[in-house]
C-alpha cells in the first residue's frame, strides 16, 4: 500500500535546515532518509520545500484570478515536504511517521494514496 506523509514543520524547523550535515536536524533527516531507502519503503518525494515566504497561492473565483502571497492556510506549522511510502499497512506507515524528525517538533500527517482515482486519471 502507498501512503503519503505530509510533513509539517515549525518555523524553528525551517530555520534549522542549515547547509551543514553537522546541524542535528539535517543529520537526523539524512539518517531518516537512508533508513527509509535501506528498508525498501521509500517510494518517492523527499525533496523539501522552500520556506513559506516563497509560497504563492492561486485561486480562480468567478472566473477571476486571485493571487495571494504566502501559503494557503495560515498556521504555525507549515507543509515542509512530503514522502511516499510503500509499506504493508497503515500501522507500518505510522511507525515510520513517528520516526520522522519533524514529528518531534511539528506534525506528520499520513494519508493513503487514492489508487483507484490515480488509475482513472492516468489511463489514456
Amino acid at each position: 500500500m502507498r501512503y503519503v506523509m505530509l510533513i509539517y514543520e515549525t518555523p524553528a524547523d525551517f530555520e534549522a535546515r542549515g547547509p551543514s550535515v553537522r546541524e542535528p536536524y539535517v543529520a537526523a533527516w539524512r539518517a531518516y532518509y537512508r533508513a527509509l531507502v535501506d528498508a525498501g519503503v521509500f517510494a518517492g518525494g523527499g525533496a523539501p520545500l522552500e520556506d513559506t515566504a516563497t509560497a504563492t497561492t492561486i485561486q480562480m473565483k468567478d472566473g477571476r484570478r486571485h493571487v495571494q502571497d504566502g501559503p494557503f492556510a495560515e498556521t504555525k506549522e507549515q507543509l515542509g515536504g512530503f514522502m511516499i511510502l510503500d509499506v504493508a499497512s497503515i500501522d507500518a506507515a505510522l511507525e515510520w511517521a513517528a520516526r520522522c524528525p519533524a514529528a518531534a517538533t511539528g506534525a506528520v500527517e499520513v494519508r493513503p494514496m487514492a489508487v483507484a482515482m490515480h488509475a482513472t486519471i492516468t489511463t489514456p
Binding site: 553537522r22 542535528p24 543529520a27 537526523a28 539524512r30 539518517a31 531518516y32 532518509y33 537512508r34 533508513a35 527509509l36 535501506d38 528498508a39 525498501g40 497503515i90 500501522d91 505510522l94 511507525e95 513517528a98 520516526r99 524528525p101 514529528a103 518531534a104
Partner: protein, 406 residues
C-alpha cells in the same frame, strides 16, 4: 456536589475492572457488560449529586448495571445458554456488604479471555487495558500508535469475537495453563512496553501504563501464587521501573544503563523485585521472565559492587535465547558477549543473526554502531549510527546517537 463526581471517578478507578469482570463473565459477553456498566456510571453522575453518594458505591453501580443487562436480555429475547446467568444475576441481593464480599473477583478470568488464542495477539494488551483497567480506546490508541477510531473498531471486533466464539471466562485447567498463562503474561509485558514508548522523553500525563501493567501482574500473582513466571514478570517490571528516573539526565538527555547513577535507582522497588525473583526460584521451574529478571538483577547489582558481572549476564542470555529466541534477546546477548569477551565476538554474533527483521530493528543498529566504533571501523560505524538514528522515535535517544556518531 462536585464531590459526587469525584467519587464516581474514584469508584470507577478502583472497581471498574472487578465490576466489569464479574458482569461480563456472568454474561459471557464483554461489550454488553461494558455498555451496561457505562450506563450505570452515567446514572451515578446524575443521581449521586442529588441523592447523595450511596453507602456502597460499587454495589450501587453493580445493581444498576445488572438491571440494564437483564432488561436488555429480556428485550432481545434471552439466549438459552445465558438464562442461568441472568437468573443468578437477578437473584443476587444488592446488600450493603463491601463489593469485595459481594461477588467473586473474576479479573484474572477476564485476562485469560483477553489473551485467548482466538484473539489477534496484537490486541491482547489493548483489550486488557480497556476491560480490566477501564482505559478508553483513544488513550490506548496513543500508546499503540494507531488512530483512535481504528483502535476503537479493532476493540469492538475483538469483543464481538469473544461473544461469537463463546470464549470461556475461566482460568484454564492444568494441562492448558502454561501456554495460556504465557499469553496473559506477554500481554501484561506488552502493556508495560507500550507505557515505555508512550512516556519516553515526554510528559506522561494521565494514567501511567507501566504502573498499570505492574498492577495487573500483582492481580495475577495474588490469584496464582504458585506460578513462578508470574513472579518473574513482576520482578522484571519492578527492576525496569526502579531505573526509570535514571534514564534521563536533569537536562533531559538520554542516559544508557552504563552511564546511569545507581544512586538514582529506586531501592524499595529493587528490594521487592529481588524478593519476587527469589520466591519464584523456589519452585525450580525456570522461564523466560525469570531469566530476564535475573539479568536485570545482575545489572542493578552494580549499585552494590560498583561493577557489572558480564559473565553472569551472558550465561543468563544463553539460557534465555534457548527458551525464547526473540530478536531482542539475541541482539542483547550479542551486546553482553561484546562486553564480556570483546566487540569482535559481539559483532560476529550480530552478523550471524541473518534475520530480515533486523532491517528496521533499532537496537540492532545501535549495538552494531557501538561495536564497530569500538573496533575503530569508523565509516561502517557512521553508516550503522545513521541507520539507528533513522529508526529512532525518541528525540532524546536520537540526540544521543547523533552525538555518538560525530
Amino acid at each position: 456536589m462536585a464531590d459526587a463526581g469525584r467519587t464516581v471517578e474514584a469508584v470507577a478507578r478502583t472497581q471498574y475492572g472487578r465490576l466489569l469482570a464479574f458482569l461480563s463473565s456472568a454474561f459471557g459477553n464483554v461489550d454488553e457488560a461494558e455498555d451496561a456498566l457505562g450506563e450505570s456510571l452515567l446514572a451515578a453522575l446524575t443521581s449521586w449529586p442529588n441523592d447523595g453518594v450511596p453507602k456502597n458505591p460499587g454495589a450501587w453501580l453493580l445493581t444498576v448495571a445488572r438491571h440494564r443487562l437483564i432488561d436488555g436480555a429480556r428485550r432481545t429475547g434471552v439466549r438459552h445458554e445465558h438464562a442461568d446467568a441472568i437468573r443468578a444475576l437477578a437473584a443476587e441481593p444488592a446488600t450493603s456488604a463491601t463489593v469485595g464480599d459481594m461477588f467473586p473477583d473474576r479479573r484474572v478470568e477476564l485476562m485469560f479471555v483477553c489473551a485467548h488464542p482466538a484473539i489477534d495477539p496484537s490486541l491482547h494488551a489493548p483489550l486488557m487495558l480497556q476491560t480490566v483497567l477501564g482505559l478508553d480506546a483513544a488513550r490506548i490508541a496513543q500508546a499503540c500508535l494507531v488512530a483512535p477510531a481504528t483502535m476503537g473498531q479493532r476493540l469492538v471486533r475483538a469483543k464481538r469475537k469473544i461473544r461469537g466464539a463463546g470464549i470461556p471466562f475461566q482460568v484454564p485447567p492444568a494441562p492448558e495453563l502454561p501456554p495460556r498463562l504465557d499469553a496473559v503474561l506477554e500481554a501484561i509485558y506488552g502493556a508495560y512496553g507500550l507505557g515505555r514508548d508512550d512516556t519516553e522523553g515526554t510528559d506522561t500525563g494521565g494514567r501511567d501504563l507501566m504502573d498499570e501493567a505492574i498492577w495487573l501482574a500483582r492481580v495475577v500473582r495474588e490469584r496464582l501464587p504458585d506460578e513462578p513466571e508470574v513472579r518473574g514478570l513482576l520482578s522484571l517490571m519492578l527492576f525496569c521501573d526502579a531505573r526509570r528516573a535514571a534514564g534521563r539526565s536533569r537536562d533531559g538527555r538520554y542516559l544508557p544503563l552504563s552511564e546511569q547513577d545507581p544512586a538514582v535507582w529506586s531501592a524499595p522497588e529493587i528490594q521487592e523485585a529481588e524478593a519476587e525473583l527469589a520466591e519464584a526460584a523456589r519452585f525450580g521451574r525456570c522461564g523466560r521472565f525469570q531469566l530476564e529478571a535475573a539479568i536485570q538483577s545482575v545489572h542493578v547489582d552494580r549499585a552494590r559492587t560498583g561493577r557489572t558481572d558480564w559473565g553472569a549476564i551472558v550465561m543468563f542470555y544463553d539460557q534465555l535465547v534457548h527458551v525464547a529466541p526473540t530478536l531482542g534477546a539475541r541482539v542483547a546477548r550479542a551486546a553482553a558477549v561484546a562486553e564480556a569477551s570483546g566487540p569482535a565476538d559481539g559483532l560476529a554474533l550480530l552478523d550471524a543473526l541473518g534475520s530480515p527483521a533486523v532491517a528496521t530493528y533499532q537496537p540492532y543498529w545501535a549495538v552494531r554502531a557501538h561495536l564497530l566504533r569500538s573496533l575503530d571501523r569508523l565509516s561502517e560505524a557512521a553508516a550503522a549510527y545513521d541507520r539507528a538514528i533513522g529508526l529512532t522515535e525518541d528525540p532524546a535517544v536520537r540526540r544521543f546517537l547523533l552525538d555518538r556518531r560525530s
